[in-house]
Structures are given as structure tokens and as C-alpha cells.
Amino acid sequence: MEMFDLSIIWAGIIGFGVIMYVLMDGFDLGLGILFPFAPDEDARDVMMNSVAPVWDGNETWLVLGGAGLLAAFPLVYSIFLPALYIGVFLMLAGLIFRGVAFEFRFKSRRNRHWWNRAFCWGSAIAAFAQGVVVGAYIQGFETEGFVYTGGAFDWLTPFTVVTGLGLMAGYALLGSTWLILKSEGHIQDWAYKITPMLLGIVLVVFAIVSIWTPFVNQVVWERWFGHIRIIWIFPALALFFAFLVLRSVKQRRESYPFLATIGIYVFTYLGLIVSQWPMIVPPNYTLWDAASAPESQLFLLIGVLFVIPIILVYTAWTYWVFRGKVRVGEGYH
């Protein structure tokens, strides 16, 4: 067992699962958030059709992440979920309504406006709740002897509200750049128009959170203003990709805005990780404190290493099958 550190491997797997979830369900949820602002019902059809074939595969990563945490880092599972109790409920309720709306909107006409509402509110609430989780993670959790001891609403502070709104804007940005990629005509024009605005909101929140973070968490302050200067490369690259988004929108490129937005996410995410590393339940527990027994980590690792490549191939294949533009009045019903 000394040959390799299973906890590090598992941190890699869970970390990969989280970013996969954020990116892939991010644009689905983003389109849900943008739903009420769409120019017309045709645009809504196209928006929904562009993600209909893939959304439930995207949610795969959330369930895998939840179960994987229980198996590999049970302390995260048993502190985050009680601490975020009400928020977790809101997120799940949002995701359920969003999912049901996906299925039944296509099959309805008279009741369609209800499913539109369920889709939008479900997406918005789930996105906000996930952003709050990010904020709560930066804030840290009140714990004693491996048990959460804080209150019911510790997760709801001005800081986490900002991160919640920030992730909503960020998901909307993923959604609008995805729509640029998948649509054409007046719908694409609309997506081009709103993208810089959303990017602006994201950057403002990015700045607020960056300035605020060192004040809510001392460890983070020392990390960023300590000796390790190299980590500044992450926010720098995130900003560079933000610039790429803006430029490619100006040039009316179709796939670059989405890809560059992914770049923003990846480097922001890495920046977030290095802020806290190796703390996994800040401020008290490292990922080794949070780990399950090595034999348990190994037992599950075998199955996961077998199935993740299959899920990836299947996912890639699905995206390949549904590549290209979604047009008004056609596509999936």
C-alpha cells in the first residue's frame, strides 16, 4: 500500500468528477437560467433541444461524486451534508423539477408553460445552491471531533450569497456560449449579445470573491500572500481565457467562446483547490483525515477505474452523435 497514496488518487478522481459535473451540467443549468429571457418560444425549443440528449448523462457525475465521497472521503460527506442541510434539499428539489420538466415539456402543449417554469426555477435554484456550496467551502465549517457543530444557516452568509449568484452568472455564461455553438440565426445573435454582459457579471463577482476571500479565511490569505508565488498563474490564466471569450465573441467565432469559458472554469477551479490544499474540510481536516480505510478505497477503486473510461467513451459518443446545429422546428421530441 506504500507504493502509492490512495487518498491522492481518490482526490484526483473526485476532483475530476466535480469539474466534469460543473462543466457539463453547468451549461444545462445555465440554459435553464436564461430560459425566461429568451427572445421567443422557438429559441426556448432550440435551447432545450440542444441539451436534451445529454443532460441526464451530465447528472451522472453528481451521483457518482456523492456516492464516491461517502466511500473515499466519508468525513466530507458527513460534514458537508449536515452543514448544508437546507441547501442540499433545495438543490435536489431544483434538480428533480428540472429533470421532470425536461421529460414532460416535449410531451405537452397545453401544460407547457408550467414545465417552462419548473425548468427555469429548478435550474436557477440548483445553480444558486451549488454556488453557495463553493462559498461555504471557502468559509470553512465549524467542527469538533469529526462532527459538524454549526447552525442550520451557517452556509447562508453575504459571502456565500455572492458566490451563489456568481455561479448562476457563470452557468449562464456557459449556457450562452454553448448556445452560440449549437444555434444559428436570431437565436445565435441573441446569444452573442448576452455573452459579454454575462462575462462582465462573472468578472465582477470573480473580483469581489477574490478580494473578499482572504478576509473570510486566514489560511487562504497566507496561501496567496505567502511564498508560493507560482499559484498566481491560475487567476492570471483564468483572466486570459476571459479575454479570449470576449475576443472570440467580437470575431463571431462559434466554438471558441465555449471552449474559452471552459478555460475560465478550469483555472478558477485549480485556483480554488490550491487555496485550500490539502484541506478538504476547511479549516480543520486534510484529505488524509477525511479518508476512509485504505482497503475500502482500494476495493472501490477497482470498479471505478473500470467504469469511468466506459462512461467517458459513452459520453463522448453521445456528444458526437448529437454534434452540429439544432434548428428551429426539428431535433429531438
Binding site: 451521483v63 402543449r109 480505510a293
Partner: protein, 471 residues
Amino acid sequence: MELDPLMLSRIQFAFVVCFHAIFPVFTIGLASYIALLQGLFFKTQNPAWDRLALFWTKVFAVVFGMGVVSGIVMSFQFGTNWSNFSLAASNFIGPMLSYEVVTAFFLEAAFLGILLFGRGKVPQGIHLLAATMVAIGTFISAFWILSANSWMHTPAGVELIDNRFHVTSWSDAIFNPSFPYRFMHMAMASFITGGFVVAGVSAWFLMRGRDPEANRRALSMCLWLLLFLTPAQAVIGDFHGLNTLEHQPTKVAAMEGHWETATNVPLLLFAIPDQEAQENRFAIGIPNLASLILTHSLDGEIPGISEAVPEEQPPVMIVFWAFRVMVGIGLLMIATAFAGLLLRRKGRIYESRLFLKTLVGMVSLPFIAVLAGWVVTESGRAPWLVYGIMTHAEGVTPSLTGWMALFTLIGYMLVYAVVFYAGIYYILRVVRNGMLPEHAQASADRDADRPKRPLSAAHTPFDDDVDPVRS
């Protein structure tokens, strides 16, 4: 009144898990039935089997989708409400639940798409293989969940170090003493549930004279299966009960409403157990029968509930009556299956309206029996979460307050009420639309061309104004 987070968490878990369990218990049985239909079609090339398979695959798709949606909540419940238990048992429970997820996703990625959307596009043999793999996969999923659950009843293969269970033997832990019985009992319950639903729906179609050829085949086949499955379930249930008597005698005593250890114990048909007084009111029983069933001897001794101190006793009223509901429905199902045999000899299973109506009415009963069975085994374990080692009170989330638990309990009830209403409404529409006429079958093949989400395999619209259902 003080809100008790422990009681509310137990109610919430029971509610969420019961709601969820309805769907897999049906899909497990139905998946095997679809594989059987596909196999018959492959062998005989009779299009009736093919039409039945297509119809039931559509129903399967919707029920599977509902199961996935309600299952997402399950994977978070352990952490939100039972965090102490989750942390303590994570070394075993974590990998079990994760393997269930892994199995389910592997299935979905590899075979479900082919089963739902590959019809007419992949060779028949491959389609049959996909159907078989999905059927096997549902059992593998159930395997992990039931292993984890059984371990909580009969923990084995672990040692407790610093309040955490560490696995010392994976095979002992996975194949813990109650697991084989629980798995068999549940697998059989799934088959019977699937059988009664298919029989009931076929009977409904026959009463309306729709697709008589295919529905007669389906009905006849189901009644043959149920004729063997329902008595077999009684035998398996008996073995499961004997296993429980060995490992959890208090639970069996509660099932029998049997308070004091004694010999010559009667089988109670009716009683109002009084936990305060530690005795029954209005008891009516058959002398010596409980002793005979449980010890296979008329004067066998059975330990009573009072062997456990009152604080360690399960809620007897609930366990006692839930058990009677389960067994009562079980007996009714056996009787129905035998009535089918008698009517068959007179050649009347397809015509007797009373019999067909009975079958339609019985569609919901296996679900109630399954839930009642789970109430027996889970309530019967109380106050233990991990039997003999950790109580519910020790496992609950310490930071949880009563109003938090109440808020989410009401919340989940509201969410599920909406989802369940929409889902059941839609399943009924799919069923009422029935099988496609033969000439439309080919176009349905062309139409179902995209490997996607389960629900999109059902093409039935949600509203009447899109496409009214066929009556």
C-alpha cells in the same frame, strides 16, 4: 410539542425510500420479463412476442426514469440525516452504495440504450443480449443495496475501532448471514410484482377486446409463472423468518405479537399489541401454530419480546400489523394464482369478467405487500441501526434540529407528490395507449432512432390536445 429530529428523520427516510422502492421493485421483475419476451421472439419469430416486448419496454423506460430521479435523493439522505452512521459505517457502506451506482451507470451506458432504442437497428441477437444484460444488471444493482441493508441487520466481517467499522473480510461482510435470504425474498417479490402488473394490464386489455392474441399469451404466461412463484415465495419467506429468528429473535417475536418466552405458542390472527402493558388485547389465535412454523415442533419454545428491555424493543404494533398485511396479501396472491389454474381447466381465464376484474384490482397489491415487508424488517430492527451495535439515536446527525427535519420532510413530500402525480398520470397514459397496431410498428422503429434518456423511449404525449389516448 417538541419536534424530535430523530423521529422525523426516520419518517423522512422511510418516506423517501418507500417512494423510491416502488420503482426498482417493478423494473427488476419487468426487465426479466422483457428479456423473456425477447427470447421467445428470437426463438419463435412470432410477432406477438415482439409487440408485447415493445409495449412493456416503453413502460419500463418510464418507470426506470422515475426510479433514477427518486434515487438521486437517496444517495444524499445518508449524509444529511444520518451523518454519524455514515461516517462510522462508511468503510463498508460507502463502497457498497458506490458499486450500485457504478453498476447502474455501466448498464445505462452500455446496454440500456441498445434495449430502448436499438430495436430494428441492431441484429436481433444483440438486442436480446442487451435485454438480458439489463435484466442481470438490475439484479446486480439490487445485490449491492441489499447486501448493505442486510449487513445493518446482521453485521459481519468488520471490527469496530475508534467508533469506525473496519472491514476485516469483504466476503463475510457482503455475504452476511441474512443477505442470501433477503436477496431471494426480494428477487421473488420483484418477479411477482412484475407478474401481477402484466397480468392485470393484460386482463384490462382483454376486457376491452384489444389485441386479444398478444394479451391472451401474456396473461396465460403470467398466470403460469405466478402459480409457481407465489407458493415459492411463501417457502422462501419462511426460511427468511427462521434466519431472522436465529439472528434477531425480538423482531420475530414482534411479528408474532409474542411477549413472554414460552412453549406451545399460538399463531395470532388478530390482536392489538399494547406496548405500555407489554401484552396483547383482543387476541385471537390458532393454538401451537407459531411454535410449529418457527420451530417445526408443536411445543417448541419461542423467545418473547420481553427478552429485550423495553428501551430495546421495536414498535410492536407496527411490526405485527405490517407483517399481517404482507402475509395476507401473499395468501391472496397464491389464491388468485390457483383460481387461474382452475379457470384455465375450464378454459375461462380469458372470459370470466370477475376473474379479469380481480386481476386488474390486484395490480397495486404486490407493491403494498413489498412496502409492508420492508416496514416489518426495518421497524423490527428498531432501536438498532446496526443491529446490536449502533442505535438510531447514535447514528442521527447531531447538528440536526427538529424544525430542519420537519422542513425537508414536508418539502420532499410536496416535491414527490408533484413528481409522482405527473409520473403515474403519464404511465397510465402509456398503458392506455397500449400496443401499436402492427402496421405502425415499423414506423415506430424508424422514429425511435436516438440513444438517449430512458423516458424518451415512450412516445406517448402528456396532454390530450397533442394526441388523445386511444380508449
